[in-house]
């Protein structure tokens, strides 16, 4: 059964106000910016954003007033530094106050892994002695049942929806993804619903020709969105290089709230959809970001 829908339909249906949304799960690559911008355009409110580092995606959603809670390891601009909207929200309550649950990249991955296992928590020795467990009341330090030494118990996090950008998918949500995954696979298995955003829609035959390349089970996927360049300005291996200048421009322009507002109007609110966004970026810029030299993997033999 085809799950192919438009981005606006996927967001309208699977990201209701107040839901918990895991996104930007592969760290710096494969960030679903097109989905984030649609969330902003649909004026979603009171979202809980879950992710390891989000580069500037969470900053945009925070600045646009969509988020009420951040469950993350890091919110900033990876190549530039601090996240201005995040700072304004925490330091001044602009545009609204935020609740944070601090994690590390490992602990947020373990939290999603726990949910994917149906386990209440996972014990670990990371973050012992850090102030994170003192600030985030969901993290508990308890003696090990085996030898009495301290352990950090990381409780399960099951997002309402995970939004995952991939290279290619069939219409049923069997997706090929390559490069580094971050915690995408844990999130896919932990979430109730998954929205897949794909650079390309391919036939089932392409997928089953290489089942080891599949990110996770299609039964978790509710919607498949075909959105080429939907992760711009982040990297999609084999499709798009990172647009470093875009991150720099965002960093410079969003230092002040008015600057963010004008950036938001220019790149999100006054842009009806991704096609218009790409037109605004222009062919020359897209060409400069496109793959210059293809490097195909050697074929593997699934024969018998």
């Amino acid at each position: 059964m085809s799950k192919l829908v438009s981005m606006s339909e996927a967001i309208a249906r699977y990201v209701p106000d107040g839901s918990s949304v895991a996104m930007s799960l592969a760290l710096e690559p494969l960030i679903p910016f097109a989905a984030g911008h649609e969330i902003i355009r649909q004026h979603k409110r009171d979202l809980t954003l879950i992710g390891p580092i989000s580069d500037i995606l969470f900053d945009q959603l925070i600045g646009a007033g969509c988020a009420q809670k951040i469950v993350a390891a890091w919110v900033g601009n990876v190549s530039e530094g601090l996240a201005h909207c995040y700072r304004r929200a925490i330091e001044q309550g602009i545009p609204r106050p935020l609740v944070t649950e601090e994690h590390s990249n490992f602990s947020i991955g373990l939290a999603l892994l726990a949910a994917s296992l149906g386990a209440p928590y996972i014990p670990t020795r990371t973050l012992l002695g850090s102030d994170l467990p003192r600030q985030n009341p969901t993290l508990r330090v308890e003696p090990s049942l085996v030898d009495g030494t301290p352990l950090l118990l990381v409780p399960a996090i099951a997002p309402d929806v995970a939004i995952i950008h991939v290279q290619r998918s069939d219409e049923e949500g069997n997706a090929h993804c390559w490069g580094n995954f971050g915690i995408s696979q844990e999130a896919m298995l932990a979430a109730r619903d998954v929205i897949l955003v794909a650079e390309e829609i391919v036939s089932r035959e392409v997928i089953v020709s290489d089942p080891n390349r599949v990110l996770g089970p299609c039964f978790k996927v509710r919607a498949v969105v075909h959105e080429p360049w939907g992760a711009h300005p982040s990297t999609v291996q084999g499709y798009a290089n990172r647009d470093h200048a875009y991150y720099h421009d965002y960093h410079v322009r969003t230092r002040k709230q008015e600057g963010f507002q004008s950036w938001l109007e220019e790149w999100v609110l006054n842009v009806p959809d991704r096609a218009a966004y790409l037109q605004k970026l222009g062919e020359e810029r897209l060409r400069s970001l496109a793959v210059k030299e293809h490097r195909y993997a050697a074929p593997v033999d699934y024969g018998y």
Partner: protein
């Protein structure tokens, strides 16, 4: 010889890497330090990146983030974050690099917030993988801008644990890490724009190991928020060699991170 303070920091960072080690590479300067070590004294070291990448050859192009396409092409393994965190949790990572906004005399690092927890003056990005690297790697190297408000007696928030603090149950240092349940590790070096510190693991205190050419111990003291203790062999930092500078400038020809 002509070099920038960041080039010297890269050299100091690269010297922390021993041949054959598994290194958790951080952003910016450590990316270049890994490439430098690999091409000079540590050809057999392996680099791991928290995005889920393992490489034994530095990226052929300058990286702005560890997830950039040239860091994935030619990797030995591209996988998930948990798959590179797992060997670190199990003790297989020899050295990890992190940076921060504030560090204290016990090597505790803050990348979370400045000021009051509830109403911070500055909200910083947070841990990322930093707290995991500080918790779980065998040795930690910290890279920082050296300013009195950054090298403090005590940080406002311990994001990444160093050697803790003395408390009613015992001293800071290795003993503190054991008390709180950390399995190993602790800072081995603090590399700044002015100096390199090592640590006394029995007390957890930073020891001034070397001061960079052009500075003095007095100048380092002026810029440091605690009373310096000197390592026994404290001396001037050995400057970069011609070869080291050549490799660094090949890795970062535009000077994006090193100028």
């Amino acid at each position: 010889m002509d070099y920038t303070e960041r080039e010297l920091m890269v050299v100091c960072a690269a010297r922390q890497i021993h041949d054959g080690e598994n290194v958790f590479v951080g952003m910016r300067l450590p990316l270049i330090a890994f490439a430098l070590a690999k091409r000079t004294h540590a050809p057999h070291c392996i680099g791991l990146f928290e995005t889920g990448i393992l490489r034994d050859a530095p990226s052929p192009e300058l990286l702005y983030t560890m997830g950039d396409a040239p860091n994935i092409a030619g990797a030995l393994w591209t996988t998930g974050t948990l798959n590179v965190m797992r060997p670190m949790a199990a003790g297989d990572i020899h050295l990890g690099f992190i940076g921060g906004a504030e560090v204290d005399r016990y090597g505790n690092l803050n990348t979370s917030l400045i000021g009051d927890w509830q109403h911070p003056k500055v909200r910083l990005p947070g841990s990322g993988g930093g707290a995991d690297i500080a918790s779980l790697s065998q040795r930690l190297a910290i890279i920082m801008q050296h300013e009195p408000h950054r090298l403090r007696e005590k940080v406002d928030y311990v994001t990444s644990p160093g050697y803790g603090y003395p408390d009613e149950r015992g001293p800071a240092g290795e003993a503190w890490r054991k008390r709180v349940g950390l399995p190993r590790g602790g800072p081995a070096a603090l590399i700044t724009t002015l100096a390199v510190f090592t640590f006394d693991r029995s007390t957890g205190e930073a020891l001034l190991s070397s001061y960079h050419p052009g500075t003095t111990i007095e100048q380092v003291q002026e810029q440091t928020g605690w009373q310096l203790r000197l390592a026994e062999d404290c001396a001037e930092t050995v400057p970069p060699s011609k070869e080291e500078l050549r490799v660094i400038r090949e890795c970062d020809p535009q000077g994006v991170w090193t100028r």
